[in-house]
Amino acid sequence: MEQLRIILSAVSFFLLVAVGRAETPEEKGLAIAREVDIRNRGWVDSSVDLQMVLENQQGEKSERRLWLRALEIISSTDGDKSLTYFVAPADIQGTSLLSFAKLVGPDDQWLYLPALKRVKRIASSNKSGTFVGSEFSYEDFLAQEVERFRYRFLREEPCPVAEARQLSCFVSERIPTYENSGYSKQIGWVDTKDYRPWRLDFFDTKGDQFKRLEFGDYRIYGGKFWRSHDLRMVNLANGKRTSLRFGAYKLNNGLDKTVFDPDALPRLR
């Protein structure tokens, strides 16, 4: 009994030391990213409809409609699996993209072309390419694992988005460690209460900021999982905008795992 007490007090002493020791900005940045990740664990699977609106400098709009399904993978080597299915425009209806994220190294990706009924494994080094003509890159969707960035905490300040003005935000920068990124760094704002991202600034390989992403319309699912339903990306260099409007998410809904098999792509309807 006494032994146990000694062990416990020893453990709590080490914990105190660990917490009390001054954190470097890098450690704090990583700790915030981990906390965002940990708070978002346990959703198992996810299904959501999505409307993507592209707007050019002249204000002309074009729209894509798609649905996304994702399977949460908690492993030391593999990231989540995701399936993107295009509903509109009609000429690409049924085109699908299946991705298996990897924590390090290239992802696995398959493209399904419904006119030919062809499943094609595609090159995974495409990170910086624009996603279907939008201001989002493939890496904005597919490379969000904590391990893929180096972090540095910068400061704490009121959140810069009107919707979260009353909240305080951690501001950190993150630098992609994977190959072929189109970004030299990103600076992100995450609120100190629920660890939700509110804004992300993107810097090109020359170090200039060229895109800004704002998150809004957060709703909570299962009392735990915050999801933004309104993402607005602005390209500051060319004035183009892309907004993503999400429908209601279905989380932990017992999704059939076989939809994430490349061989099952031809049966998507």
Binding site: N56, P89, D91, R118, N126, G133, D263, P266, R267
Partner: protein, 397 residues
């Protein structure tokens, strides 16, 4: 009790019809084709240009979470060629999806393979050749198809109870073959002709960077031998459909921006057993010329050791080189250029394809198939006059 069962059976069938989703989509298309050279055939002499319309609706009816009925009719009206004016059921099937396995009953389309310039392994569906010479337009194939996702790849079995004959252009049609094809006189090796039951099995799986498919097909060859025959009207081609066995391998290795591809077949039943293969690479540069565009470079080598009793192919010893430019703009604009050169004779085929979205629901396609060089005395001289430039406007709904 019996009535109760009957009632539940009736309602069981009727109930999904209320909560179901019926989805209708598809496209209409206007197509214009120009033939820069004069035809050799008298009937097609004045066919320097030709127009047609096509319609392809797609009806999907989701019966419940597991079953979907799909019907995709296709029809084309060609102003000049009565054989190209044709209709087909591209799909008319029910899909039962049980997760770890699925079953398809009815007419459907299946694609096997990895190569870009020739589809050697792809054998389930007949080519709708009046639509185009690239072997990518297919007729709906009646089938019973079971696919089992085993965890170590997918096992597929196909029972193909009815054979579809290849379509050929008519006397007035272009691009024409050296002789008119008498489809009505088609000869089959199988005594029960189109009713011969063909079958195929396939396994496909993945090991890290490698995607591999192994297949075997037994039945009537989709590719007929065209036998020159005397008829009262002169020399004609009679299609001869032999019974074949074909074993194929298709494999792709994916290393970053490099795709390495191989398709190989061994076929018996058309003279001596022969081997054919296509192998090559596709390399993509992303964000080329500091734009959003991707440029893919493709090279494929063709080898085909078939004898003279087998159907004719241009791919006996050829090299294909091509490029694909995808602009990644809001209109999904893409441009493909490719050439196939016969290593022995230097005869060269060129292909250009362009596609873009004009507005929501409107798509424009342009295509050219040219022969800039044909060796004297080679079989391909007969294709020299059949170069074609195509423009297509599609409206999706």
């Amino acid at each position: 009790m019996r009535y109760l069962l009957l009632l539940s059976a009736v309602f069981g069938l009727a109930l999904p019809a209320q909560g179901d989703a019926l989805d209708v989509s598809g496209f209409v298309e206007a197509e214009g084709r120009a033939f820069p050279s004069e035809s050799r055939s008298i009937e097609a002499l004045d066919r320097a240009a030709s127009g047609s319309f096509a319609l392809q609706p797609e009806v999907r009816w989701q019966l419940d979470a597991q079953s979907t009925i799909t019907v995709v009719p296709f029809v084309r009206f060609d102003a000049d060629d009565s054989e190209r004016t044709h209709w087909d059921l591209r799909e008319a099937n029910i899909l039962l999806n049980a997760g770890n396995w699925d079953l398809r009953l009815g007419l459907d389309k299946v694609f096997w393979g990895v190569a870009e310039s020739r589809h050697l392994a792809d054998i389930i569906n007949q080519t709708d050749q009046v639509e185009g010479l690239d072997e990518e337009d297919k007729l709906g194939q009646p089938m019973v198809n079971l696919n089992v996702l085993t965890g170590v790849g997918t096992l597929s079995g196909f029972l193909l109870p009815y054979f579809r004959e290849r379509t050929f252009v008519g006397l007035e049609g272009r691009p024409a073959l050296p002789l008119p094809v008498a489809e009505d006189l088609a000869v089959f090796e199988a005594p029960d002709e189109e009713r011969h039951i063909d079958y195929a099995i396939r396994w496909q799986g993945r090991f890290g960077e490698f995607d591999i498919g192994l297949s075997h097909f037994h039945g009537t060859s989709r590719e007929p031998s065209l036998v020159p025959t005397f008829s009262p009207g002169g020399l004609i081609f009679v299609p001869f459909y032999q019974l074949i066995d074909q074993t194929s391998l298709d494999a792709q290795a994916t290393f970053d921006a490099w795709l390495l591809k191989l398709e190989a077949i061994i076929r018996s039943g058309q003279g001596d057993t022969f081997f054919a293969a296509v192998g090559g690479f596709e390399y993509t540069v992303y964000g080329v010329f500091s734009s959003n565009a991707d440029l893919g470079v493709i090279a494929e080598y063709h080898r085909d050791e078939r004898g003279i009793s087998a159907p004719f192919t241009i791919f006996n010893n050829d090299l294909m080189v091509g490029a694909r430019l995808a602009l990644n703009d809001e209109d999904d604009t893409s441009l493909i250029a490719g050439g196939v050169v016969d290593i022995d004779t230097r005869t060269t085929f060129l292909t250009f394809e362009f596609a873009t979205r004009l507005a929501e629901g409107w798509k424009l396609e342009a295509e050219a198939r040219l022969l800039p060089y044909v060796a004297n005395g080679s079989v391909e001289t007969s294709f020299e006059r059949e170069q074609v430039v195509i423009i297509r406007l599609q409206r999706f709904f």
